[in-house]
């Protein structure tokens, strides 16, 4: 433990903490639990919660999950978290327990978990760490699948980005969405003294010190920390979900908290501190898997456990419910007036600490140093390719663009029968029968390469892309979560990236009127090998929840399907913004160029207009233009619908861009819509910045400019490349 911290603790306590207390401080004051580096920066998000955006926030920042009202009394609990460090050491269990943890966060609000999304990031699969990357992907995907599938919660979306900066630190983020009625919401705050504390689940010696492990750089010795990685048991979690939801129905549960980082120490102290009470624990009542010391009981991170504060007198009734599902549960303490945590073991006091000290770690002021990597590109040096067909095919099979079916096919994305728009599109759409035809749209986004080149602009782009993805299914963004994955914040350049990205997210979210209601910070995603620093790209991954007014109007749903003769319309112009583009990286191996700038005012307008068009059922397909630009977006539209497109960009190319720039620039604000011929004029009248670029038909993607075919590819060939790329990368075909 840090010497200054220790001195401070001793000063406030007036004595030396004992070894159990010390372990509690070590975990609760870790970066992972206490946000010591980021807390001050995170205050920038406060401005996104204002009178324009707060009317549907039922539970805001600071609980296990945020709760947002969808319609009437139907609410959604949302939470996002990372499990990066454990997933690099033990990909299967690290990823699985990440799912388990986030599901319990949502469950602890009294909500039924109904969807998961997993933004993943791995190193360069064709680079020197390629074999390791494959091993990590296998393990992470199987871990997520085995856990999510077993607990019966569909995994409906996510991302998978590859970049060599993740060679030594892969990222495994996870989002969970839950469904709850407003009057059945439980929070993690015990607000009165005299409540009985019930611990569900058994405690063993796994994951001891996990929070502090997650708060430092991974080193070559990290392998030895494998015992710090928890092992999950999805079957217990499934029983826990069923039992908790049944227990909540009794109305006797007053507060609930998942046991995550720092185990019982964390859950009990945060539950009481948050509600303004204290607690007394009797550690000999904790149900153990093996004999443990009080120290181990307090910091064990055994999975599938939950702490419930229940009305006195209802203990037996609640425990009986857990017994029905064959889960161990016992009364292990009670809440008290005094704001302290007192833990006794067979009558002996082993912990006695004031909660305001334990739960309020002193914050750090870190030094920031600008580290802008964006630079001009030199078109002279970037040769115009001879064969744009070959370029497009190569992009379609590149790791960041190719189909991720290999991944999502291992996830049960149908269970609970809400999935209207399945994985593989820009955003997933779920019906919510309680308020039908209202539904929700879910998306996660971040281009970490943009964020490395220009952190502020990259972060703004992440928000714009999420809003765009939602607009494509006609959804209005109603809440956002962020998962801030960064390198070692003690390096001033990294701290600067963190500050810039938060600022970018906050500015954009405020502009688009999306309240940021929660998130997670994962720092120290950085490895030093033989004195050389390998930080990850700054990755502020975001999740945005959207509200769909009528799921039946979503493009591709029911009979609203794209067909021959439909007209293709694109929003916004295309500019020369090649910095960080997939095309430059894959074909020219450069990251030079200007990172796309988001014109907030203009794009807000565009997304609102597109949303209106989609809401009226006028779009038979809508595809976001992002990685790979216009050409890739068109190709995907053709591939996903197995239909040809005939496009002429002559009049659209107002900026007179070079052909490759026109096809592959990643300018923000663009959505390609397919609309019925008879609705064309109606749609155009609703869009202020839109251009007709072609029509649907045939079995080829043809792109023409100035009378010349610059792309002419069979849809069948594109499909083959797009779908076979991932299994090929994994060495399966």
């Amino acid at each position: 433990m840090d010497e200054n911290d220790l001195k401070y603790i001793e000063k406030v306590l007036g004595r030396k903490p004992n070894h159990v207390e010390l372990a509690m401080f070590e975990n609760l004051w870790s970066e992972h639990c206490a946000y010591r580096t980021s807390k001050k920066l995170l205050r920038m998000f406060a401005k996104t919660v204002n009178e324009k955006t707060n009317k549907n926030i039922v539970v805001g920042i600071g609980d296990d999950a945020a709760v947002i009202r969808l319609k009437d009394d139907i609410c959604l609990a949302i939470a996002m978290e990372s499990h990066n460090h454990p997933s690099y050491i033990d990909p299967y269990n690290g990823a699985a327990t990440g799912v388990g943890g986030i599901v319990r966060d949502v469950l602890s609000m009294g909500a039924k978990p109904i969807a998961l999304l997993d933004p993943l990031r791995f190193g360069d699969i064709f680079g020197k760490e390629g074999d390791k990357v494959r091993w990590l992907i296998e393990g992470v995907v199987k871990g997520i699948g085995d856990y999510g599938n077993r607990i019966g919660v569909p995994t409906v979306g996510g991302e998978c980005e590859f970049d060599s900066s993740f060679d030594y630190n892969n990222l495994v983020n996870v989002v969970c969405v839950g469904l709850v009625k407003e009057n059945e919401i439980i929070t993690g705050k015990a607000k009165e003294a005299g409540l009985s504390l019930i611990l569900v689940g058994s405690t063993g010696r796994d994951g001891i010190g996990g929070a502090s492990f997650a708060s430092k750089d991974l080193t070559e010795e990290s392998e030895e920390e494998r015992p710090s990685v928890q092992v999950g048991d999805a079957f217990s979690e499934k029983c826990l979900i069923d039992a908790v939801l049944e227990a909540v129905k009794t109305g006797k549960v007053k507060a609930m908290k998942d046991l995550g980082a720092a185990g019982l120490s964390g859950a009990s102290s945060e539950m009481c501190y948050g509600g303004g009470v204290g607690c007394e624990l009797y550690l000999e009542n904790v149900i153990l898997r093996e004999p443990l010391t009080p120290y181990e009981i307090m910091v064990s991170e055994s999975q599938e456990r939950m702490l419930l504060a229940v009305e006195p007198g209802s203990e037996d009734e609640i425990i009986e419910i857990f017994k029905k599902y064959e889960l161990p549960a016992s009364v292990i303490g009670k809440t008290i007036e005094e704001k302290r945590i007192i833990a006794k073991y067979k009558g002996e006091v082993v912990v006695d600490l004031p909660l305001d000290l334990l739960c309020e770690a002193p914050l750090y002021d870190r030094e920031a140093k600008e580290d802008l990597k964006e630079k001009e590109d030199d078109k002279e040096k970037i040769k115009m390719p001879d064969d744009l067909n070959a370029v497009l095919l190569k992009l379609l099979e590149s790791p960041n663009i190719c189909s991720k079916e290999w991944i999502y096919q291992q996830y049960d994305y149908e269970v609970q029968i809400r999935t209207v728009v399945k994985p593989g599109k820009d955003a997933a759409v779920l019906r919510i029968n309680e308020v039908y035809p209202v539904g929700i749209a879910l998306t996660t986004d971040c281009n970490s390469r943009y964020c490395k080149l220009n952190p502020y602009v990259g972060a703004v782009n992440a928000v714009a892309e999420a809003v765009r993805n939602l607009a494509a299914v006609g959804a209005e963004p109603i809440a956002m979560l962020d998962n801030l994955n960064f390198g070692n914040p003690e390096r001033p350049e990294r701290f600067w990236q963190l500050a810039e990205c938060i600022k970018g997210l906050a500015d954009a979210a405020e502009f688009f009127e999306i309240p940021v209601v929660g998130g997670n910070v994962s720092l120290y995603n950085e490895t030093v090998i033989e004195g050389k620093e390998f930080p990850i790209n700054p990755t502020p991954a975001i999740f945005v929840l959207g509200k769909v007014e009528d799921v039946e109007k979503v493009p591709g749903v029911l009979d609203n399907k794209i067909k021959e003769g439909d007209v293709l319309i694109i929003t916004n112009e295309t500019k020369d913004e090649m910095g960080g583009s997939e095309y430059y990286k894959v074909i020219h191996n450069t990251e030079d160029g200007k990172v796309p700038r988001v014109d907030l005012e203009k794009e807000k307008n565009i997304y609102e207009e597109v949303r209106e068009v989609v809401k009226e059922g006028l779009a038979t397909e809508a595809v976001d233009c992002s990685r790979g630009g216009l050409a890739v977006a068109l190709a995907k539209m053709a591939i996903l619908n197995n239909i040809g497109l005939e496009v002429d960009l002559t009049s659209y190319n107002k900026n007179n861009l070079r052909e490759d720039v026109l096809l592959f620039s990643e300018t923000s604000g663009r959505i390609i819509l397919a609309v019925r011929e008879e609705n064309k004029d109606k749609v155009l009248s609703k869009l202020t910045s839109a251009y007709i670029i072609g029509k649907v038909g045939g079995n080829k993607l043809k792109i023409k400019i100035n009378g010349k075919d610059i792309v002419n590819l069979d849809v069948k060939e594109m499909k083959k490349r797009y779908y076979e790329a991932f299994p090929k990368m994994m060495g399966e075909i």
Partner: protein, 230 residues
């Protein structure tokens, strides 16, 4: 028309099945695995999920719980019993039909929309289809590869125990259309009496157009109409 929908620890498609049974006009009721009498019900569905985490072998532990005796009685009495996915695994473990379900050929969990062809339209569940009909329906399993030795397979064909086969969109039985390596593309089987059908694909997930297909709804309708006549 009460239909029992069984719930083992780890069952996760119970509410989805209840929803589909209701859509088909039935009255579903969740029954916990500790029940050993189902005489009040006209039929039963064993839904999918991961009972007991599939930790030993899919369905193996569930097949040894109290409710199995009651389900077996139903099967013997000729009441309609449908096992879906994990329910099919449980049904085979309990010996309600023949053959076995083992790991997918690629050793992975596969969630995917597939096509199946009706091979036997004489069961309660397939009475509203015609032999040769092609249904669009999703699968989601890790242990769905049907296997039976030659002798058993021969017996099953002779006794009309093959109900569904994986096929392509046009109804052709091809290797590409076989998602998990099942022998003869077999996706669903039944008992000699034809009243107990066990299949790996999920009809409850294909019971409404908004989800991508309503081809599966007729299975529940067939079940309920058959049960009414008992």
């Amino acid at each position: 028309m009460k239909i029992a929908v069984t719930k083992f620890l780890g069952t996760n498609c119970d509410l989805d099945v209840c929803h589909a049974v209701k859509l088909a006009g039935g009255e579903p009721e969740l029954v916990f695995f500790t029940q050993n009498n189902l005489d009040n019900y006209k039929g039963a569905v064993i839904p999918g999920g991961f009972s007991y985490g599939d930790y030993l072998r899919a369905g193996a532990i569930s097949a040894r719980t109290p409710i199995i005796k009651a389900l077996r009685k139903m099967v013997e009495e000729g009441k309609p019993v449908l096992g879906i996915c994990n329910g099919a695994q449980i049904g085979l473990e309990a010996g309600f039909s023949k053959g076995t379900l083992t790991n997918n050929l690629n050793a992975k969990f596969i969630c995917k929309w597939v096509y199946i062809r009706v091979e036997n339209d004489k069961t309660p569940f397939t009475q509203y289809y015609k032999k040769g009909d092609v249904l669009k329906i999703p699968i989601a399993h890790a242990e769905g590869r049907f296997y039976a030795d030659d002798e058993t397979l021969d017996y099953m064909y002779k006794n009309n125990m093959i109900v569904f086969k994986y096929c392509d969109e046009t109804g052709e039985i091809t290797e590409e259309a076989n998602p998990n390596g099942s022998i003869d593309n077999i996706a669903g089987v039944c008992n000699e009496n034809q009243n107990c059908v066990l299949l790996m694909p999920h009809p409850e997930r294909a019971s409404e157009k908004i989800l991508g297909s309503d081809d599966g709804l007729k299975m529940f309708k067939g079940m309920i109409d058959y049960a009414k006549k008992i």
